[in-house]
């Protein structure tokens, strides 16, 4: 189905190739996961298969590519689209029309297929993807998972023999991601469709794939083959695989189900509270207290009586399905939404009547899209801009002279960049950076003002494992410095690694809160893999479990 022979590709103006000497053979009917760190060339590889690279990107390509018996370099992406479906990360960015049915039929009408055939394909595709009931709905009324399925339907209607997906679940909650992945499994098993999928969250995808492509950050190093063989040779693995490799389980399990028999035989010491921090008992007055908060969007209640608090030196993870009101809660805390009922107390004072700019002195908020923050020509200027804004606030800390202020601000910005490991990027143009780097610049621009409370909305979206690790390390440092951190995320493994407390928000109310091990254990959707394997061990991450084993 797919054949790459000695393929090398370099983007225009780049000093080194994005892909180097790639040799690859993928048989028809495979379900393939493409993995690797950001910048390793995953997207470039996928785009080579339908001709977007080099037709759309420009650049220099050498070697031979054959996909579905066509040469994507000779043929155009338009021609390749008849055999290859391509689904992008953000479904919203690929929609042309505004209704489900119209969007799916759009490409078929462009091919000038007879109306009867279009209707037949439309019915079949909508049925296949479980979208029949939604066919007349407007796209802006659908959930993230439904939109991604519509994007999938729009390419499936063309009857492709190969489906390529570039991080299709990165913006979805675990349930929606599971629905999309189950749909892909059905397409692969029932229709024999060849599927190639790039994804960072390996634990979501590994149960379904039969082949793995690992692209190393070092150009030219690539591993292809059976998932077990590939994963045995790389560090970038899911928690189950990490445990399996450490404990020497053979054959290496890829899923919780495969690992359960090993786990049942493993001898673990009794649970103790040593590894799970119990910060609550020793904490002073909370930085934030939310009392009976009700927030409406128009006539619709979003938050229906939320009670919650956050302490200094604590990471509170706020989880829940899409649309539960998590972002609304964060926006209320920074004054972007006004509550109808209830009170928000920051350091014991109500925030009622205070505007966002005032609250920003004490509360830092990183929105889902960090790009919205970045506008300056240099990374350093982004930080200086925040400090400059604060210096001009009526209640802000004022310096004696402009020169002193500039010097002090430059020092603060430099210290923050060094702490973030970005000192060498101070002069870089922020929008030229990778997703993870951009996110760190945005975070630095918020944190340089040293807010007491930090709010993060889905901070790991689109981040690879290394960037996620760096973020977790940073948050741990800030927590140890006494900052209160509220983390809204679907990333169960990040919560397992970082959170001191977890609250579940469902349909506008806090349905559970407490220690991570207790809350996550009670929620099948949010249970980390380690906890699924060892429910009584009191550990949430492979590292915690390994540390415990080492200590005994």
């Amino acid at each position: 189905m797919i054949s790459f022979q000695d393929v090398t590709f370099t983007y225009p103006g780049a000093s080194y190739p994005a892909l180097q000497s790639i040799n690859l053979e993928i048989p028809a009917g495979s379900f393939v996961l493409v993995m690797g760190l950001s910048g390793s060339g995953k997207s470039t590889l996928l785009r080579c298969m339908n001709g977007l690279v080099p037709h759309f990107s420009g650049g220099t390509l050498s070697g031979t590519i054959r996909v579905a018996e066509m040469d994507p370099v000779d043929a155009s992406p338009q021609v390749m689209s008849r055999k290859i479906g391509f689904v992008f990360q953000d479904p919203e960015a690929q929609f042309v029309l505004d209704r489900v049915e119209d969007e799916v039929a759009f490409a078929l009408e462009n091919l000038a297929l007879p109306p009867a055939e279009i209707r037949t394909r439309l019915d079949a595709t909508l049925g296949l993807l479980g979208l029949t009931a939604l066919r007349e709905r407007r796209l802006d009324t659908l959930s993230g998972g439904e939109r991604q399925r519509v994007a999938l339907a729009a390419v499936m209607a063309l009857n492709p023999s190969l489906l390529i997906l570039d991080e299709p679940t990165s913006q979805l909650d675990p349930e929606a991601a599971e629905t999309v992945l189950q749909t892909l499994v059905r397409l692969n098993r029932d229709l024999g469709l060849t599927i190639l999928l790039a994804e960072h969250r390996l634990e979501r995808v590994l149960p379904f794939v039969d082949r793995l492509i690992y692209l190393d950050s070092e150009p030219g190093r690539m591993l292809v083959g059976d998932p077990r063989q590939v994963l045995a040779e790389v560090d970038l693995v899911s928690p189950v695989v990490a445990l399996g490799k450490y404990l020497g389980w053979q054959p290496l399990p890829l899923t919780v189900q495969e690992a359960l028999p090993f786990a049942q035989l493993a001898q673990l010491p009794e649970s103790s509270d040593v590894l799970i921090s119990d910060i609550q008992a020793t904490l002073p007055e909370p930085v934030l207290r939310i009392v009976d908060l009700h927030v409406f969007y128009g006539p619709k209640p979003i938050l229906k009586g939320v009670n919650l608090s956050a302490q200094g030196g604590e990471v509170l993870a706020l989880m829940g399905p899409n649309g539960a009101g998590k972002t609304t809660l964060l926006r209320s805390l920074i004054g972007l939404m006004k509550p109808e009922v209830g009170e928000i107390l920051l350091l014991g004072e109500s925030i009622a009547g205070k505007n966002t700019a005032d609250l920003a002195r004490l509360v830092g908020y990183l929105p889902q899209d960090p790009n919205a923050l970045l506008f300056a020509d240099r990374v350093l200027d982004e930080l200086l801009y925040t400090l400059h804004s604060r210096a001009h606030q009526p209640h802000g800390h004022r310096q004696n002279s402009s020169a002193d202020t500039d010097t002090s601000n430059a020092e603060k910005a430099a210290v923050m960049l060094a702490q973030m490991g970005m000192a060498d990027l101070a002069e870089a143009y922020p929008r030229d950076l990778s997703v993870g780097q951009r996110q760190r610049v945005a975070l630095a621009a918020i944190m340089v003002a040293q807010p007491r409370l930090l709010l993060l909305d889905e901070p790991t979206r689109g981040l690879d494992a290394a960037a996620k690790q760096r973020l977790a390390d940073l948050l741990q440092t800030w927590r140890d410095d006494g900052h209160a951190i509220i983390l809204v995320t679907h990333d169960v493994e990040l919560v397992a690694r970082l959170a001191d407390r977890v609250a579940i928000l469902e349909d506008g109310v806090i349905s559970a809160q407490g220690k991570p091990v207790e809350v996550l254990a009670a929620s099948p959707v949010f249970m980390p893999q380690v906890l699924q394997l060892f429910p009584d061990a009191g550990c949430l991450t492979p590292q915690q479990l390994i540390n415990r084993l080492r200590s005994t």
Partner: protein, 344 residues
């Protein structure tokens, strides 16, 4: 749940609404029309499953009406009911302030508000693909560009607010024009990035992959010749005594242009999978529009049309109200009835 009436039914409804709004300055009739439009808006939003709350629209309507009232009161000093007089020598704002000017301004504000809701209803009810179909098939790529622009606007507005909020989060107060500059760059770059993503996605989905059946040059030439023909007819018609010949040339040129468009459209390899049908709901709405037309224009003896042409000047009085016209105007709310019927 579909909000769909036939495209031409919605177009006829929109035209009837605009005619009804523009034909009267009677506050009773205008209020009735606005109520109908707001009810239709609520039903459309409900059918679109976005929640029916026309509050933001109402807020905007009140703002427009108040601004129009104040503006008219300041610049128009006609009317007999004076409630305030400023010295005449004060430029622009000096002179008597009248209740009539105030109410006239309010009436104009309501008319503007009515036009806005009518178009909002039409936009919300019509799927973009139906709007594309209204553009001749020969201009299909242009139609797609327009449809993308239509869907791009709300996304850009949403992005604008996201960026504004993001800058406020950094302590920016957005007081002076300079404070708004940090919004421009992310908005511009974000818009370009989205445009690139969309074009990449459309390319990957095979947009414009089917080649036109024939050459483009011939039908483009035919369209240009037809337009020149129409223009020549217009030039000829300006000469004394040649009006008829000019009119004939214009008509012939227009027909040739239509034929050229049809011919060019047939060269565009594209199909429509959905044929619209007129249904009972369409008949109900169209009959309502016919009744409005009759009430406004047919010379029934029992209808007092003078109430339509009410004027607040020179002395403010209560407008007359003809129950036949009032009842007929309620027909503008029939799309809400049809949408509600389908939902049940």
């Amino acid at each position: 749940m579909s909000t769909q009436l036939h495209t031409w039914t919605w177009l006829t409804w929109l035209a009837a609404t605009l005619v009804a709004i523009s034909v009267t300055r009677n506050l009773f009739y205008l209020t009735l029309i606005l109520l109908c439009l707001l009810v239709v808006y609520s039903f459309i939003e409900d059918a679109n499953q976005r929640g029916a709350y026309p509050f933001s629209l109402l807020r905007f309507g009140i703002l427009v009406s108040v601004l129009s009232m104040l503006f008219n009161m300041l610049i128009s000093h006609f009317g007999e009911t004076v409630f305030l007089t400023l010295p005449e020598e004060w430029p622009l704002i000096g002179g008597p302030y009248t209740l009539e000017a105030l109410v006239y301004g309010l009436t104009n504000g309501l008319v503007l508000f009515g036009i806005l809701i009518a178009f909002t209803d039409f936009n919300q009810a019509m799927p973009v693909r139906m709007l594309i179909r209204l553009i001749p098939r020969a201009f299909f790529p242009v139609a797609v560009v327009i449809s993308i622009a239509v869907t791009f606007v709300p996304t850009t507005i949403r992005q604008f607010y996201q960026i504004k909020e993001a800058q406020m989060l950094r302590g920016q107060r957005m007081k002076s024009l300079r404070d708004w500059l940090p919004l421009v760059m992310p908005l511009l770059v974000g818009g370009l990035e989205r445009a690139l993503q969309l074009s990449e996605a459309m390319t990957a989905r095979g947009f414009a992959s089917a080649a036109p059946k024939g050459g483009n040059t011939a039908h483009r030439l035919a369209m240009v010749v037809s337009m020149l023909w129409v223009m020549a007819g217009w030039v000829v018609s300006t000469r004394a005594g040649w009006e008829t010949l000019g009119l004939g040339l214009i008509l012939a040129g227009a027909l040739a242009l239509l034929a050229a468009l049809w011919w060019a459209g047939r060269q565009v390899p594209r199909t429509n999978y959905l044929k619209e049908k007129l249904r009972t709901g369409d008949a109900i709405v169209l009959m309502g529009i016919v009744v409005i037309g009759l009430a406004l224009y047919f010379p029934f003896e029992w209808i007092d049309r003078s109430s339509l042409y009410y004027s607040v000047y020179p002395l403010l009085q209560w407008p007359d109200f003809d129950p036949w016209i009032g009842t007929a105007l309620l027909g503008l709310g029939l799309p809400a009835y049809v949408i509600g019927l389908r939902k049940r």
